[in-house]
């Protein structure tokens, strides 16, 4: 596995909103089949970094490469030209994303939420997409809820549907943007459980979370961000138990 090139390569990523620099030159590799957890105080740039990976956020400098393809740009004669929206959509369809606020489509049933992209983007038949959707729903523990509307479900159930929706496109990479932060404490476990299963199945994942125990248990790499920079990175044991950087120490002693 180490011989393979990393699935995600992020180099020199910068992004600022006005005078506020959110990403200040981030370099990061994510290997295939590995789980990378991004930790850090709020405002450290974790979510912005994640959103740059599927170009929901446009970087000011630097690039993101997924599976050898630069996201959002085409390299031509020494310049990076921004892609047309149709080409960008094709790239995005291979990267699943799960949001803090679930962002299920409230006017569509659970089933329609899941089969929307496979049918309209990947041009699968409705029958195949539905069969896959049922399979995915069963795997996240929600068999039989196909005809429910999102608002009829609990937060934890909605987030599990959101995971199933992202998986229905058979992505090669999954992005999780604080997937449990909007949940009641008792519902956090069911979502983390699904994510653990997914990690065990070999999915490449980048996860922004405050669940330190999840990082310790599931992550292959923990990356600590502060003020838009990677200040600590490595396997969970060394980063979480013995951080070298003072900022990381302060943060971890506050959350643990």
């Amino acid at each position: 596995m180490s011989a393979q090139s990393p699935l995600v390569r992020i180099r020199g990523l910068r992004r600022s909103f006005g005078a506020n620099t959110v990403l200040d030159g981030v370099d990061l590799d994510v290997c295939r089949g590995e789980v990378t957890v991004l930790l850090g105080p709020s405002g450290a740039g974790k979510s912005t970094l994640l959103r740059c990976v599927n170009h929901l956020e446009r970087p000011d400098a630097g690039f993101v490469e997924v599976d050898g393809e630069i996201i959002g740009y085409r390299h031509h004669r020494g310049r990076l030209h921004e892609l047309r929206s149709a080409t960008l959509a094709r790239q995005r369809s291979r990267i699943g994303m799960v949001f803090q606020q679930f962002n299920l489509f409230p006017h569509l049933t659970v089933l329609d939420n899941i089969i929307e992209a496979p049918v309209s983007v990947a041009h699968r038949s409705k029958k195949d997409a539905t069969a896959l959707a049922r399979e995915l729903l069963a795997s996240v523990g929600l068999a039989g809820r196909e005809q429910s509307y999102p608002r009829q479900l609990s937060g934890g159930q909605q987030q599990r549907v959101a995971i199933a929706r992202a998986l229905a496109m058979r992505p090669q990479l999954m992005l999780f943007d604080e997937p449990t932060s909007a949940l009641d404490p008792e519902l956090v476990g069911e979502v983390l459980g699904v994510m653990k299963d997914l990690a065990a199945s070999g999915m490449t994942m980048i996860v922004v979370t405050h669940e330190i125990s999840f990082a310790r248990e599931v992550a292959d790499t923990v990356v600590f961000l502060d003020q838009g920079r990677v200040i600590e990175s490595g396997d969970p044991d060394s980063v979480l138990t013995d951080p070298r950087h003072d900022r990381a120490k302060a943060f971890l002693s506050a959350v643990l």
Partner: protein, 346 residues
């Protein structure tokens, strides 16, 4: 219900009681129930519930009934309404022809106006600053000009531009049309009202689109949906609940606003009526004919709006939606009093 399941109603009642206390008397509810009443729990559980009396509801109902009776009385007894004349003209040929014109002019104006309006709203929300400016300028201009003036402008276009030609500016023209033949009263009415509806509907649609959370289009983009698909399938349906009530308003006001075409001699419902009473001077009964038709149409449109709203509200509520009839019944005061008795006595 009481026979088959004796315990359930009691729970329901108890809930009523606490609700009523909380809302009517917050001071009392903060104290423990024992200290204020001195009754045991068993006594409290056995005590029947009495709903809060609302005498003003009865008084206001009585006043409204009297006022309604007065209106009916004067409508029936005042001979000068000439109801006989009203019914004799109600469904005659010229009136129905006018009605047909009003109906299809409204429909055509609304459909074309909204297509334009949706386009303008999308332009206004686009990244391209030129498109945004054009949309803004159009809405600003059209909303500033009274519709009657717009109507007369299109009708009198021939005096301003006797000929319209399509070609290169300052160069040669390919097609030339004489405007005197182009703009009949009806076409002027259609164009003027359509442009007016476009401006207003653009703002309605824009407001609706802005009411949809940005997370929705982000999630759709992250799935790889095309921009058009994101708009049509995800954003627009969710904008509809915000768009429909105002659109119903605009539709109904446009139904009546089409009557301004009578100034350029287009024979809509109102103008047909005017033509008749100009000859026989039965002004009031003939205006009543038009009014009753407008009332009927507005009623039908309101009912239609209810069902369209219900369709787009799907997924919004945990409970399945109620039918129109159920809502009408539950709105009647009698029904409420009956409901109160059932909850208190049974």
């Amino acid at each position: 219900m009481t026979n088959t399941e004796p315990r359930a109603p009691r729970l329901v009642r108890l809930k009523h009681q606490t609700d009523a206390r909380m809302s009517s008397d917050p001071e009392k509810s903060s104290q423990p129930p024992r200290s204020s009443t001195g009754a045991s729990d068993a006594e409290l559980l056995a005590a029947p519930l009495v709903r809060l009396r609302k005498p003003w509801q009865w008084v206001s109902t009585a006043v409204i009934l009297v006022l309604a009776a007065m209106v009916v009385h004067t409508l029936v007894t005042n001979q000068r309404f000439q109801w006989g004349v009203v019914w004799s003209y109600f469904a005659t040929g010229p009136i129905l022809a006018g009605l047909r014109l009003t109906l299809w002019l409204t429909a055509a104006v609304m459909v074309c106006g909204y297509l334009l309006g949706i386009m303008l709203a999308m332009m206004r929300l686009a990244d391209n600053p030129i498109l945004r400016a054009v949309s803004f300028g159009y809405v600003w201009l059209v909303r500033s000009v009274p519709p009657l003036v717009q109507l007369l402008f299109w009708y009198e276009l021939a005096s301003l531009y006797p000929e319209l030609s399509l070609g290169i500016p300052f160069g040669r023209a390919f097609v030339t049309v004489r405007t005197a033949h182009l703009f009949t009263g009806l076409l002027a009415a259609f164009v003027g009202l359509t442009l007016d509806v476009a401006a207003f509907s653009a703002e309605i649609v824009r407001g609706g689109i802005l009411s949809v959370e940005t997370g929705q289009s982000e999630a759709a983009q992250a799935l790889g949906l095309s921009r058009w698909r994101v708009f049509r399938r995800i954003v627009f349906p969710q904008a509809m609940p915000a768009i429909i009530p105002t659109t119903g308003n605009l539709l109904i006001s446009m139904l009546k606003a089409t009557s301004i075409v009578s100034v350029i001699a287009v024979q809509d419902l109102l103008y047909s009526v005017q033509l008749i009473y100009n000859q026989n001077f039965l002004i009031i009964p003939l205006l009543l004919v038009a009014t009753i038709w407008y009332v009927i149409l507005t009623t039908l449109l309101s009912i239609g709006q209810y069902y369209v709203e219900r369709y787009y509200a799907r997924g919004n509520k945990r409970r399945p939606p109620r039918g129109l009839w159920t809502i009408a019944r539950s709105t009647l005061p009698v029904r409420q009093f009956l409901g109160a008795d059932l909850a208190g006595i049974s």
